[in-house]
């Protein structure tokens, strides 16, 4: 187990700042995801830690040891790539043995360790196959075994599941997580898939334009996103621009399609008459028939409804604004387009994002 510390890392490519003053501590044994859209700097950050590229400024440490001037082949980082990167001209055995042989391990040790590694990734008996004879999921397991067998200080994963089909991706997610916890290794995982990041990680670092926007547990990131970007990137949300009718006791009273609602202001300075942006997640909104529903105070009209099995996804019109509502299918009823409905949500489900 090892703690990784990044301090003010900067990396520029031909004038474009790919990584812009990134500071982050990855705790020992932690599974941390770097998540963001393509070009946000997450892979560059990982490549800096791996040593494939050198930073223009800043420092990196593993357990207090400065990494900057340590060449790749002495960093002892286990790396897993999106392309699997298994050596195509070597058998599975020779692939996994590669790192051990670099450490001058005896052939007896090599054989024992490979057996153990293949057990770990639940793929024993494929030693003499070549990578092309394995499926994508199997290849990625072998790549994971190859990375782990050298007993690395940190496991670096660069979109390892992105080349797999959807079903396999979900299975591998759980397995990857289990293996990481079983081995007890610090893992840094790069992905553009926010669902993957939320379901795998102890903590996430959301990146945008080379900077870290927010670091936190999946629940913190999802429930209390601190920036507009995190808000829109992680999960789906309704961003509404509303006028402040009144301010009192740290709360703002807002006008939503003629109805009144309250939002907590925190320490934001907002005055009566301001236009502000608030966010509310689609699944936090209740939806019911127009007549006789208690606690649902907002009148709306269904624009369209998409039935997706366990959920129905509605787009509704409230006042002048369109909102997404995700409703669990507790019964067989869905509202057709044009139906008048009532919506409701807890006031703490609604969060202030910023000024419009």
């Amino acid at each position: 187990m090892a703690e990784v510390r990044l301090e003010h890392l900067v990396k520029r490519f031909e004038g474009v700042t790919a990584v812009d003053d990134v500071s982050l501590t990855i705790r020992s044994g932690e599974f941390l995801s770097l998540v963001g859209p393509s070009g946000c700097g997450k892979t560059t950050t990982l490549n800096l830690i791996a040593g494939f590229i050198a930073p223009d400024a800043g420092e990196m440490f593993v357990d207090g040891e400065r990494l900057n001037d340590v060449p790749i082949y002495r960093r002892k980082m286990g790396m897993v790539f999106q392309s699997y990167a298994l050596f195509p001209h070597m058998t599975v055995f020779d692939n996994i043995a590669f790192g051990l042989r670099m450490q001058k391990a005896s052939e007896g040790t090599v054989r024992r360790e490979i057996g153990r590694a293949l057990e770990l990734v639940r793929l024993p008996g494929v030693e003499q196959r070549y990578p092309r004879q394995l499926s994508g999921g199997q290849q990625q397991r072998i790549a994971l075994a190859r990375a782990l067998v050298i007993n690395p200080r940190v496991l670096l994963l660069d979109e390892p599941l992105s080349n797999l089909d959807a079903k396999l991706r979900k299975e591998m997610r759980i397995e990857l997580r289990d293996i990481q916890k079983a081995v007890g290794i610090t893992a840094i995982f790069v992905t553009h898939d926010q669902e993957e990041a939320l379901s795998l990680s102890d903590r996430l670092a959301v990146m945008h334009r080379g900077r870290i926007e927010q670091v936190g547990t999946p629940i913190e990131i999802y429930e209390t996103p601190r920036t507009e970007f995190v808000n829109s990137f992680i999960g789906e949300t309704n961003l509404l621009t509303l006028r402040v009718l009144d301010v009192r006791r740290g709360e703002a009273e807002l006008d939503l399609g003629g109805a009144r609602m309250l939002v907590s202001l925190g320490d934001a300075a907002v005055q009566r008459g301001d236009l502000i942006k608030v966010s509310i997640r689609p699944e936090k909104i209740g939806i019911s028939a127009a007549a006789g529903a208690a606690g649902l105070w907002l009148e709306a009209t269904v624009e369209h409804a998409v039935f997706v099995g366990n959920m129905t996804y509605y787009r509704v019109k409230v006042g002048g604004q369109l909102m997404a509502v995700l409703s669990q299918n507790l019964d067989a009823h869905t509202f057709p387009p044009g139906a008048p409905v009532r919506l409701g949500f807890q006031s703490d489900a609604c969060r202030l994002v910023g000024r419009a």
Binding site: F52, Y73, M77, L86, H89, Y130, R146, A147, I150
Partner: protein, 296 residues
């Protein structure tokens, strides 16, 4: 209402397609290559009487003369030795160049590619005359070596094996570089990163990963350079002449100067047989050996 049936796309009947695709080039090769080759082999068994010329008799005399005469065996050995030397030098000089070309982009890459291809833009005769100027006893190269104090008297480049090797390496280099380049350019660079993250020094990474995976390019490049240098005529003829004969030159001499077509044919057939056998063995050795998986 019934849906209109989609019309099947029109295509060449599968039974005829292969013939249409391969037919023209096969016909071309048959008429202009296979037939002359058969005639050449037939010619090598015909008799030759200096006063009467070619006779319609079957004889193995030319073969036994060629294969027992130290003079011709010496030339055969030289031809093969020079071809191997040219191939080895092209590989050693060309590989780093091809590798470098995969690392650079833009203008720099264009310049180096143009430089490498430049020998092909100039006619063989003009290019070789250029080399004669450079390699002459008091030519550019000797003058330079002399000025640098590296030699006391001019090195004999002209009409020597050295000159032939220099000239052939120059003109055949593009084939070597482009073959290796094409096998390196699409490599998955993650493989090299993976090897290094597993503890392999960059040199080890090259030897264990990059080099084996570029074997198909090395195979193609060495085969092309080997066969082209074995059969090269203009460069050895102009830089070696009658003093440093190679088999293609002997063949030319027998056909055009001495008019002994049967013996010229024997020289050509023997060289062809050796090269074809060697190429097949080399190919098989690489594709069935330790690195077989690379060629799949």
């Amino acid at each position: 209402m019934q849906e209109p049936k989609p019309r099947p796309p029109r295509r060449i009947s599968a039974g005829w397609a292969p013939y249409l695709l391969v037919g023209p080039v096969s016909a071309w090769f048959a008429i202009f290559f296979v037939v002359p080759l058969i005639l050449l082999v037939v010619m090598s068994f015909r008799g030759y009487v200096p006063t009467k010329g070619i006779t319609d008799t079957f004889t193995l005399a030319h073969y036994s003369k060629f294969l027992t005469d130290a003079f011709y065996l010496g030339i055969l050995w030289r031809t093969l030795k020079l071809a191997l030397l040219v191939t080895a030098i092209s590989l050693l000089l060309g590989y780093p160049e091809a590798y470098y070309l995969t690392l650079v982009t833009g203008k720099r890459k264009a310049v180096f590619l143009a430089l490498i291809l430049s020998p092909l833009f100039v006619s063989a005769v003009i290019r070789t005359f250029g080399w004669m100027i450079v390699l002459a006893p008091h030519g550019l190269l000797n003058t330079l070596l002399d000025r640098l104090g590296l030699i006391d008297s001019p090195v004999k480049f002209m009409y020597s094996e050295k000159g032939i090797v220099i000239g052939l390496v120059h003109v055949l280099m593009p084939y070597m570089v482009l073959s290796i380049y094409s096998s390196l350019i699409n490599r998955n660079r993650d493989l090299e990163r993976a090897a290094q993250s597993l503890g392999a020094h960059p040199v080890t990474t090259f030897l264990k990963v990059t080099l084996p995976l570029s074997l198909p390019g090395i195979l193609a490049g060495t085969l092309i350079v080997l066969t082209l240098s074995v059969s090269a005529f203009v460069t050895p003829a102009m830089l070696g002449g009658t003093r440093v004969r190679v088999i293609p030159f002997v063949t030319y001499e027998q056909f055009m100067v001495l008019l002994n077509w049967p013996f010229g044919s024997v020289a050509a057939v023997v060289l062809l047989a050796i090269v074809v056998t060697a190429v097949m063995l080399y190919h098989r050795w690489l594709e069935r050996g330790k690195w077989a998986e690379v060629f799949r």
